[in-house]
Symmetry: C2
Subunit: 258 residues, 2 copies
Amino acid sequence: MTKKPLILVTNDDGINAAGIRTLISVMNTIGDVVVVAPDSPQSGMGHAITLNSTLYAEKVHIDNGPQKEFKCSGTPADCVKLAIRELLDRTPDLCVSGINHGSNSSINVIYSGTMSAAIEAGIEGIPAIGFSLLDYSWNANFEASKSYVKTITQEVLKNGIPNGIVLNVNIPNLPQINIKGIKVCRQAKANWVEEFDKRQTPQGKDYYWLTGKFVNLDHGEDTDEWALEHGYVSVVPSQFDLTAHHVIKNLKHWNLNE
Amino acid sequence: MTKKPLILVTNDDGINAAGIRTLISVMNTIGDVVVVAPDSPQSGMGHAITLNSTLYAEKVHIDNGPQKEFKCSGTPADCVKLAIRELLDRTPDLCVSGINHGSNSSINVIYSGTMSAAIEAGIEGIPAIGFSLLDYSWNANFEASKSYVKTITQEVLKNGIPNGIVLNVNIPNLPQINIKGIKVCRQAKANWVEEFDKRQTPQGKDYYWLTGKFVNLDHGEDTDEWALEHGYVSVVPSQFDLTAHHVIKNLKHWNLNE
């Protein structure tokens, strides 16, 4: 009998979100599942960690199934730290985060709580994948995502992921019949052009809502944005060594020690 | 007459911290300074942004000098977005963040609000530097930092920084006479081993404080950790394209589309 892999499941939309419920149902077909996820939505939290306040974790039963579940008062990165150090009996074989309600392609990876949970697991040496569906709505339909999530997870368990790398997977918001397959990509050089909606409080004080539009000036056909626009699931191998190794030589010619 | 550069100054310890006051004093000798910084400490916020609540910014006068100052209710990344889109008359020539009270070397770059502000500016195409001193205390002594901050800033203004790159600068907590110079480095493969201090509320409910110790298993002499331990200021060119380009080829051999 082969021992089933231990899979840690987390997300940033909160433990009750439809995306994580779908992810749990898929992972239950692959391994032993422990869920440690935020008790409330944490979107846009980036790689925040809780340094100056306390953390709670509580065993919960949300829907039926063999999984164990804990809700946690912290950020996605906190959930992973707490799971690994306190809540799990042994180091998990895999950590999956998501399925996020909304895109984490291109520059969104930087702001993403979903990906920060995956990166936190990667830092701990655990193979990790962040999954996102390109539909921000709370009642997004995750049916078509299931088979892609399962295929990619099984390939990760079979092949492993090189140390220092986590996978950023985005799934187009299309019926399964219109999804063309899975593409390994690079992160597109696209970004948000923010617009602040400036308003006044009833007392006359200015305040702002952050809004903006997404602009992709990267026309490469090897990017995640290209893949998603053309009906493919995108997989970007992402690293947390941020060093721009190719620039080090250039900077060594600066007059830093005159 | 050469026009002075416009320099945006921010941080994550809050607008009243000694580190940003030092940074402002150095920048006042180089250019026209506008400060947009959080109204309260934001350490460990990573690249969080404020999506679900409002943002305030208010003109303030904290200490004398030619700089303009705004305190902002948001995260460091919010401060940079709001500065660029709403508060500044023109795009700044440079964004500097810090001087952080505490290290942002090696893996700390991932959790760092200081660096997230610099990265946000980098995403906007603005040359940006995050500065950190290896002293977490509120009354840290930033005197020895001043000349290094000035030298690095002037070199950035003279040489520019390649697109997609920001500089992560860490300064050892030593008297100036013991600092040996400035070294261009790569990010060390070091990380935190967390320990959770588990306690009980007076009502008997478990809660946790996040603590941990820093472990460096990377013995390279080209890393930021090595430089700092040996009395050098470290400069790591850091990128926000997280793609592990060298891994893409490897993943293309997986059976993702069977």
